[in-house]
Symmetry: D3
Subunit: 322 residues, 6 copies
């Protein structure tokens, strides 16, 4: 069963998300504050037993100069400097285990997989704390500090994500002019956010992205994590305007409007978690060159390895990578 | 279907939870740190439209001197000072709305209902933040900071709970020698913790208490919130000894061993959330006079209003309240 | 996810329920038969241990002169006669326990909470039997005797509800000119029925009312209790016209058309049990002054305590109550 | 997964159900009251279009002389008088449609399928009302009037069942000395009850019988309909002794103790609805010759058509039927 | 809740399924290949113990001359030759047990119930194997060989079904000019297929038919068995055109376009398995005289015994059967 | 909640599975038949875009000389011949996509991932058909041909698995003396089977293996795929001895008894799919050196990447691989 609009209606759907007048100021100020801290990338090689890939445990300074962890994986014996891929992770997970996720390095990229603050327990390991005052919230992070853009969890996380690109560019092994970002679900939302916030990316790929078109999402899905917002407003009756005011500053629709890097999207027409219309809400206003893979028979798994393969082709084409 | 042992086996069941040698030192130090801050109770009357009860919005200083909220409800036109009931709230909820929960004040008690830091969104409203560094955790609070007793969420919450009794005793309207504690589920776990940590309580009542006998709980239930521990260890493979080491400092079994106030427990034999054996784990070692209501056909709702009625009788008997 | 029409479509939705030509005659005759029995209110004070509220076990004569039970709760030490609130209960429940539900008396009203015949076992206790010949039916009461308006369960229950107002008005403690009715879900359906059947009410409040707009309800929800009708017709193939003929005599839409008391409705846009359109089906044709609280993020819990608070304000405004 | 004890433990399991001292007196009095009414069997042929079977709509006087419906199906062109099978129906259903259930008549028996008062809407049609005062109860019939053996629903239904044998014996087409009873689930419970209450049966067959060993059933299953008892006691706290006192008068274990007709049981080891131990509770004390078919891999469907085939062989063997 | 379009929209809905240009050639060739094998009907009487019906175990040659099993049931003592009903079975089941399904023979028909190759384990027994190379597929048969019409499972099954009519016509007991086909769900799809492939049928009846309007079905339902197609394409990304190309040769819509026998359909408006629009997709283009029973309150059980009764009337009317 | 025995009981549990006297003869004959066909390994390089790994599409002759597919992945630029890992896949899946599963090649092994005949649609792609006569069966493969060891699906699949080792040994890139086998769930069952059937393996690793201790499995789990056996016997009543007779020839317990290669097992104490006791059933009788990783808080995911890491260490230790 289709979980959202039919393909013909998705083509004409447009999001009703507002574009806050001080959106750019908010983010400029946020990133400027973070930039007051040196990126301070620290690497420590990990003993993995792998023969073709080296893995490093990475720490850099993210939001408010707080330490954020990552894995760096690079192919052994490949001529450098390499094009790089910064990868963001889906909801609930963290950077995982050093031995996992060998695709990008095997494909010849320097692969920086950023950890997700305070998550990293739902399906893959994390090692980075969230540091904040935590007002009453629904379990998860989607309503953490949601009454104010300044205190919202995703202000911290998106800032980390922007800084991860700085961390990648600071590496000797990386060709700073060929850094791309990629992610699925929450990771896709982060890739979109970064694409809207910096204009030095080689390319961008967002698979079945989460965190897009909140006003539509809360009307058309009951699935978590969007449902956390509904759960919150169910108890916090009367705070809905305040919550939606905050969310507008973090909506992929608004980041897409500002993006310039060539982007590859994917969307799944049977996805109950990130309904297709919310993805198109961002896609239709994306500011740079754009392309979308439509998976008519898939749910939130989207194109799976075929999304990765398409992103590999996309990044190769855009960066001239080997 | 019974969700745990048969009644005849519950009678002989004993918990295997360890009693950490430095348990008392840990808590003494924790409470001493909190006591460095004045309790600083602030009251502000709330306009409710009620005719028989006055309600006050209360703030006091809890863990690390952080502000904790509460409601104070007192009967209009009742001779003072009153015996008091400090009530703790179940998992996910907060102090709720001023108009709710009129039972204890209607019964002639000063009723201080403490808010729960960082919760207060699942089924009732809260207004108190949790302030901490949040390492990767499963959604909820049961694994927040669980790798170390010093950083565990419940260290902060139980300290708040102990301090709430100080707040109650500091009120003019309260007869400081007649303060009792009560709660169900997580609130019951908190009532047990406070009963183990202070010896100036008139009485205590813990309905279907949560946070008891963790080693048993994770073996016999798959229900949340105990399941948060299982979810955590499922991803954080290899951290189980560390986690159980922490939990021992927060287990109702260990608080019960130290308690002296006359206690009323309730337990439900079809409770999948707080299985009966875990409640008996605490009950069987309770240090003070004790009594338990067994609800053979109930699940986690336990005795409902009959538990309240029994607690009312218990507190009246123990405090000579009107 | 919205469970029914979007807000903009709810505004224009109108129910297709028919208005049976002999509707008024049917009810006039039904109530006249009941009125042949004296209301015969009997009170017996209950020992509750409460300090601010007195509770009475009430019995009065309802449908066919059969005894119906209720609780009367009145504030201690409040000048009389009082404005009164007659409260009806949700599906499956009964009047509950004497110690529950202290809101209205605490607010200064005489509070008569009517029991529900033959229910009172699903979530709160009841003490009143249903007395009738019970043809084959689906478990529950929604299809009990549904093949004929004369034998339908709700003919008896709505008559009890009308009579409960007579019982309230007969009390010394009550100011007969200031009696209001209130209820949620089935209780809201009963409040609407009573509002359509008597014109001496001070005010009325129906929260997320059930028993409204049956033709729409059976098309748009699969949730119980509306689903009982579907279950019945699934087996009793071919009886659908007869069933819908009966239901028209008990539909909140038809009662609303006849009502005159100032009414407060609430509706929840994510309510799967009483879908929003069915509530608007009654609201849009309500004959008296009307107001509706819309809970965009709530399910069948509606506004919870905020609905009560709004009703308190509504009744105060309409009755000049203290 | 086995839903109850392993086969080796079922062999030694014995029910703890008590045998009320006045059990026989209770039933003797109940049946004597019914016997004051003439059985008054009325037949009306139904136009079915069948070529090999004639079907009659039957009415006879059951409990308190109230009319009970049934179908009589007899083979066309078979020498008479015939052996008869009186069949009882499972929970929620009624006698169904005249065209259904052609097995017994096709096998050469006069087949009287008794309707079930007040049910007949859950999965098959019924046409017989239950007539009683209905105290507060859980939806269904298992707790209808359960506080007193005199008012319990099954007092009426079991009396109807005993009377159905009288009705069968009164038919010209039937050889009164060769009447057997059969049923599955609730129908099996009824077959057991009738086997315990009359000693003129040729044979009896109870497939996966319900209504057996209540004390065990409420401990080992959460499935409906046994769960109705649990639901009831969950709200009607404190009535459990009274309820179990009533149930002892209607327990298949107590009927089995008194039975003499040769009986065929079936039991399914993966049956969550009528757990195997409860069936063995009755089987092990059955007073007459007995045999049990064990379906190790089946749930409540038991042996299905193979149970029918076995009953056919059993009845043929016991009655010398063609 | 309606599971598909409202009645008024069903009336105007038309399927978008394509009509492959070589559809007729494909089937002509397929059936011609089968016809190269003699039908070779073999009968063996089964000892059932029934008095009014004789049952035979039948084997005939179906697709590729492979043996297909069936039951033949004929009334005892009815003048011959008889009109015949060939019945096809629902998904997952087989011909069942000899003692089951006595309706058609009791009604005076020769009743040939065809087994379903390779199924016969889900809810009723089967005895016929499927013989083929089985490419990777989703559990079930709906995607077995689906990449090519030549290898698709239903090519074999529908050929068996066409041949079953030849088998019936070859029986001495049957009046070859009065052979009808009937089935529900998958059996209804088979009845439609046979109605589209042969023009010597007396009548046809398809209850809540499956295998109709695949393009619509995969958009509007998530229920199995249609969901097998979705599951397949979820993993076999990119094969969707090929799959839908195959399905067009097996779609009831295309068979209906070619059918001539007088047909009785049934459809259920709350059927999640075979949504109403898919049934109307076939019905609206049915080539012969047609009639449809609409069950507004039923799910996939449709009209149950009333569908059978209607088919009996339909066949009697069309064949002049006794 | 633990899904099976407690750790202390697992230590002493022993399987009751029988050891068929002709087990060895059955398998010797089966493998001898397969060996009549040359292994005929065919390789075709796949364009993947990877920089560090080469991937080949492999075909070899498996059961009855039927073609079986696989992927071969080898590290680029690593000195040869390499130690090899033959990997088998979990239930429902196939060899997947060439770009997936880069772990073993990245670790310096020649990695042959065998496809699974007729599966490869549930969660990962396959390309190998099953070729057989398919008697009536439950959807899936666990009951395909289960009435006879000669026709059982796993006779074909296990033979393929044994032959895959021959295929690996036949590769130039492989050091034939250092071939190990690995798999999880069904793949673990296959690794055990191969370990029991050939004695030239360097090492073996079976994670949370399926297909072990069938007599216990069908008693203690309701989860698929073991449940397919229960579903089958539920309909195929009376075939249980025949089915269990067949299963004994394919039970990991019997393969373990015969195995000699050093084995690493993993088991998860909260695994509902492959309950811990069934794994211990095989482990306790394993004939070669053995070790088991116990995951106390995991379900069927077992140790995840940590199982892989442990197997890497195990294979390195056993084969002296780089």
């Amino acid at each position: 069963m289709l979980t959202d609009l039919a393909p013909e209606d998705l083509a004409t759907y447009r999001s009703a998300q507002v574009n806050p007048p001080d959106f750019d100021a908010f983010w400029a100020e946020t990133l400027a504050e973070a930039a007051e801290h040196d990126i301070d990338v620290r690497l420590s090689e990990v003993e993995t037993g792998l023969a073709t890939i080296k893995v490093y445990d990475v720490t850099f300074k993210g939001f408010a100069g707080q330490d954020v962890r990552a894995w760096l994986r690079v192919p052994v014996g490949i001529a450098q400097p390499l094009p790089a891929v910064v990868q963001y992770v889906g909801y609930g997970g963290g950077r995982g285990h050093a031995l996992e996720n060998l695709f990008w390095a095997s494909a010849g990229f320097a692969h920086l997989q950023m950890d997700t603050r305070g998550q990293g327990s739902g399906w893959s390991l994390g090692a980075t704390p969230d540091i904040a005052e935590i007002p009453p919230q629904v379990p998860g992070v989607l309503t953490r500090g949601v009454l104010d853009p300044a205190t919202y969890y995703y202000r911290r996380l998106f800032t980390d994500a922007v800084r991860a690109v700085d961390a990648a560019r600071a590496l000797d092994v990386v060709d700073a002019g060929r850094v791309s970002v990629v992610g699925g679900s929450q990771g896709g939302g982060m890739a979109l956010a970064v694409s809207g916030l910096r204009h030095d990316l080689a390319a961008s790929a967002a698979f079945v992205p989460f965190l897009c078109d909140f006003p539509r999402a809360v009307r058309v899905t009951d699935s978590y994590p969007y449902r956390e917002i509904i759960d919150y407003l169910k108890v916090h009756r009367g705070e809905q305007e305040q919550v939606h005011h905050t969310l507008a500053y973090f909506d992929g629709v608004n980041f897409a409007r500002r993006a310039t890097a060539p982007a590859l999207f994917s969307v799944a027409l049977r996805d109950p978690i990130c309904p297709a219309s919310t993805v198109y809400g961002a896609y239709h206003v994306y500011g740079g060159p754009r392309e979308i893979k439509v998976w008519e028979y898939n749910a939130h798994e989207g194109g799976g390895i075929l999304d990765d393969a398409a992103a590999l082709h996309h990044f190769r084409t855009r960066t001239g990578a080997a």
